[in-house]
């Protein structure tokens, strides 16, 4: 049966150069270009002068300052950061609900029922206009909002709350609108037919069904808000980030570590709460709620007691938070604030357009882009590697790579699991700005420390997400491979990665969009890119320059967003 039948149709091997390999080549080229932009190929990047400081910093990790006064300060600033986050999230969700409903298709269909005909332009225009308007606050990083509000309100706790609420509110509005539009509409239709007004129809026919998803996303936003609140401290808004900055500037590394540990703890607690809640609500991954990502089957679900208790806890926490931050709420509408606001708007127009600024903005845009590419490459590769031991169904006993059930192997597996989970947690608990500050110990200012900071932070996030993807892989083909005698790595390469890579790639592309926005943050703390220029312009009140840089940043952000969704479509992930 082995001889070749002469009439056998000749099947050609598919060419190795296909769409996927083409993208791989483009990616590698982009990476090399980015490394070149970062100056890796022309001169030293390591700052040997900073080694001693870096060593001191690392050593201090073992001896954090645990004196009574500092621990009290750490506790107070942790609570402040939490309060910023809770108050900011409360406002963000309020904004998100209002604008989410207003920017959903389903709302406008209730207002202007189409009755099977194409609606006239004047009926569609409000939705299109609102969606376009919401894209702008969303594209501006919370740190820029923070600096802006500091210039208007001074160093008031309101700065942090507003800087979180506005961009997060715009993001939340987009997600909420998508959730509402994807919620089944039969109940709504029924109410509509019986002549119920649009507002009531939404309230009774749509919102109850959408609630679990809305809730899950709200708690995810709270998680993000805690990191944002800590980061906003770095630009002077108070809380943990502010204390970290002060201790870092006075070279008190032992104190820095006390605050860092507090931040890690706070972040771990919210992270745990949020994922516990999601599991209980049987909700898919939080990022699956991003529009444009392939949606997963969402089982029907009801509000569980745990969610109810979480809501009750929030109901207590929100007023407490607004009280705890001791904000000067009168300042919001004070004549001075309004005058300053008008002044900023007046000073910013028209944007400065001189040739020198434009030329340097082009150069800085390229640098910022390359920073984001380096960061996301580091995060993608590192996250993929760490996601394997961090997935609960792999190295643990009984897992695919758990090997035999010998005691030593079980202990080894558990250690791998705990170490990788812990590393990922620490990486994402300390935000990009803090990692960039650490990188600045031993790298010269520029693209590299920024890319490293962004990369490490996103590695922590992507690693955890990819671990969740890996945990959801169908186990049976893996067991089948194993039953044939395939080794652990072979199971990984032939069974796991083919199943997980498409989804992981979608996450990577989504985080790239987040990365390009966050480049301003690492720029503010001294790494390179447009962020650094923006920070300098902000602090020298050069608002016309700020306006130009903001426009450059917006162009870059929208460019990366559309490139990312184009790649997603091209690779069908």
């Amino acid at each position: 049966m082995s001889e070749q039948a002469p009439g056998r149709p000749a099947l050609r091997r598919p060419p190795w150069f296909n769409r996927r390999t083409a993208w791989l080549v483009i990616f590698v080229a982009g990476l090399v270009w980015s490394l070149d932009q970062a100056g890796v190929f022309d001169g030293p990047v390591l700052n040997r002068g900073g080694w001693t400081l870096a060593l001191q910093f690392v050593r201090a990790a073992l001896h954090p300052d645990l004196s009574g006064a500092l621990v009290r300060l750490a506790l107070d600033s942790t609570l402040t950061t939490l309060a910023f986050a809770v108050a900011g999230t409360a406002l963000c969700v309020a904004l998100g609900l209002v604008f989410g409903i207003l920017s959903s298709e389903v709302f406008w269909q209730l207002v202007f029922p189409d009755r099977g005909r194409r609606r006239p332009l004047r009926h569609r225009a409000p939705l299109v206009a609102l969606r376009a308007a919401l894209a702008v606050p969303r594209a501006i990083h919370e740190a820029i909002w923070g600096l802006f509000f500091i210039n208007i309100l001074g160093l008031d706790p309101l700065v942090a709350v507003l800087a979180i609420a506005i961009p997060f509110g715009a993001i939340t509005a987009r997600i909420f609108a998508a959730i509402l539009d994807e919620t089944p509409r039969e109940a709504l239709r029924a109410l509509e037919c019986s002549g119920v007004s649009p507002a009531r129809a939404l309230l009774y026919g749509l919102l109850p069904q959408a609630l679990p998803d809305l809730l899950s996303y709200t708690f995810y936003r709270l998680e993000c808000a805690i990191r944002a609140a800590a980061v906003l401290g770095l630009i002077g808004a108070g809380g943990l980030g502010y204390q970290i900055l002060l201790s870092l500037q006075s070279l008190r590394y032992d104190q820095v570590w006390t605050f860092l540990y507090a931040l890690i703890l706070l972040s771990a607690l919210t992270d745990g709460w949020s994922s516990f809640l999601r599991r209980r609500l049987h909700l898919a991954n939080r990022i699956d709620l991003q529009p444009g990502l392939p949606s997963r089957d969402r089982p029907s679900h009801r509000i569980e007691p745990v969610a109810k208790r979480s809501l009750q806890a929030m109901a207590v926490l929100i007023p407490l938070s607004f009280w705890y931050i001791h904000a000067d709420y009168a300042r919001l509408l004070a004549p001075r604030t309004l005058r300053l606001l008008a002044g900023v708007v007046h000073d910013a127009l028209p944007p400065r357009m001189d040739g020198g600024l434009l030329a340097s903005l082009v150069r800085l845009s390229m640098q910022t882009l390359s920073m984001s590419i380096l960061a996301i490459a580091l995060a993608a590769v590192g996250g993929l590697v760490l996601s394997v031991p961090a997935a609960s169904n792999f190295v643990l006993p009984g897992g695919i790579l758990g090997g035999g059930a010998s005691r030593a192997q079980a202990v080894q597996g558990a250690l791998w699991f705990a170490a990788s989970r812990g590393l990922l947690l620490v990486l994402r608990a300390l935000s990009e700005a803090i990692w960039a500050l650490v990188a600045l110990f031993f790298l010269f200012p520029g693209i590299l420390p920024g890319a490293l900071g962004l990369g490490l932070y996103n590695l922590g996030i992507l690693g955890r997400l990819m671990a969740e993807v890996t945990e959801n892989v169908d186990q049976r083909p893996l067991r089948a491979l194993q039953a044939q005698g395939a080794s652990a790595v072979q199971v990984l390469v032939y069974g796991v990665l083919p199943a997980t890579l498409p989804r992981c790639l979608a996450y990577v592309l989504y985080r790239w969009e987040v990365c390009i926005r966050a480049t301003v943050m690492v720029g503010f703390v001294g790494a390179g890119g447009i962020g650094r220029l923006l920070g300098e312009q902000m602090s020298s009140f050069d608002y016309r320059g700020v306006a130009t840089s903001l426009i450059a940043m917006l162009v870059l952000t929208f460019g990366v967003d559309s490139l990312s969704s184009w790649i997603r479509r091209a690779l069908r992930v």
């Binding site: 035999g404 089948a480 194993q482 395939a486 390469v493 199943a499």
Partner: protein, 261 residues
């Protein structure tokens, strides 16, 4: 032909969460035998297959597979033996995102080095033998297709081709045709019988259809509630044995007559 049997089970019990799936099984399967496992759902057929290919470890008792106790071997040594045992599953258990060629070559992984398996993912190796295996199962033209795009019957053929290139001494099949329509099922059973006969392989198949058990196998083992109900040559199978095997005990039917129940 070596002296030891293909499988030797002594007093094997497997317990899942306190409930015994198999109890006190003694069984000897010789090389080259074609054995059908029949019995109602939950009788322990899948558990028995899992024990035979080493994916499950018995709670009590001893299993010799190809002369080795799989529970006692080191991981690499166990893999060597497992490479001699091919398994076909009801749900195929293929990696859907990979092309057919890679799923077929996956049968070789136990004999390939890591480098070789990595290279093959980018530049498929051993195409000729994969092609031959696919020809034997009747779908050579699908070699470069993505597995997920194939129909159920075609996917089961890919799984069979995977086992062919693995070239094991024993083929285990767990309800291989339960997800196929009767016509595809018959074709696949014919194929399975013919391929194992031509290469002198031992074949152990769990199967729902008693007709196929009779027509395609030499020996039929009936499992009921975790125990061997009968073990006989296929021609000796009587309708009474089958009825007893699939009989449904209705405790509630007896109780239903009492007024207080």
């Amino acid at each position: 032909m070596p002296a030891e049997p293909a499988f030797l089970l002594r007093n094997v019990t497997k317990v899942f969460g306190g409930i015994p799936a198999l109890a006190d099984i003694d069984l000897r399967i010789e090389h080259g035998e074609h054995v059908a496992l029949v019995g109602p759902s939950g009788a322990g057929k899948t558990t028995l297959i899992g024990l035979l290919n080493g994916m499950l470890v018995p709670t009590r008792g001893e299993i010799q597979a190809l002369g080795h106790d799989l529970a006692r071997l080191s991981v690499p040594a166990r893999r060597k033996i497992q490479h001699q045992i091919g398994t076909i599953h009801q749900q195929y258990h293929l990696v859907n995102n990979l092309r057919v060629i890679h799923n077929v070559n996956a049968g070789r992984l136990g004999g390939w080095s890591l480098t070789r398996s990595l290279v093959s993912l980018f530049w498929p190796l051993e195409i000729e033998s994969a092609r031959r295996a696919l020809e034997q199962v009747g779908i050579p033209e699908k070699i470069y297709e993505v597995t997920a795009h194939l129909s159920g019957g075609q996917q089961q053929r890919v799984a069979l081709a995977r086992t062919m290139v693995q070239d094991p001494r024993v083929i285990l099949a767990d309800e291989p045709i339960a997800s196929l329509d009767p016509e595809r099922g018959r074709e696949l059973m014919d194929l399975l019988r013919q391929l194992s006969r031509a290469t002198g392989k031992t074949l152990v198949t769990s199967i729902h259809s008693v007709e196929f058990a009779r027509s395609h196998f030499q020996r039929v083992i009936g499992l009921r509630e975790g125990r061997i109900a009968f073990d006989c040559a296929a021609p000796d199978l009587t309708p009474a044995m089958i009825d007893a095997l699939y009989r449904i005990d209705r405790p509630d039917a007896a109780r239903g007559k009492r007024p207080d129940a």
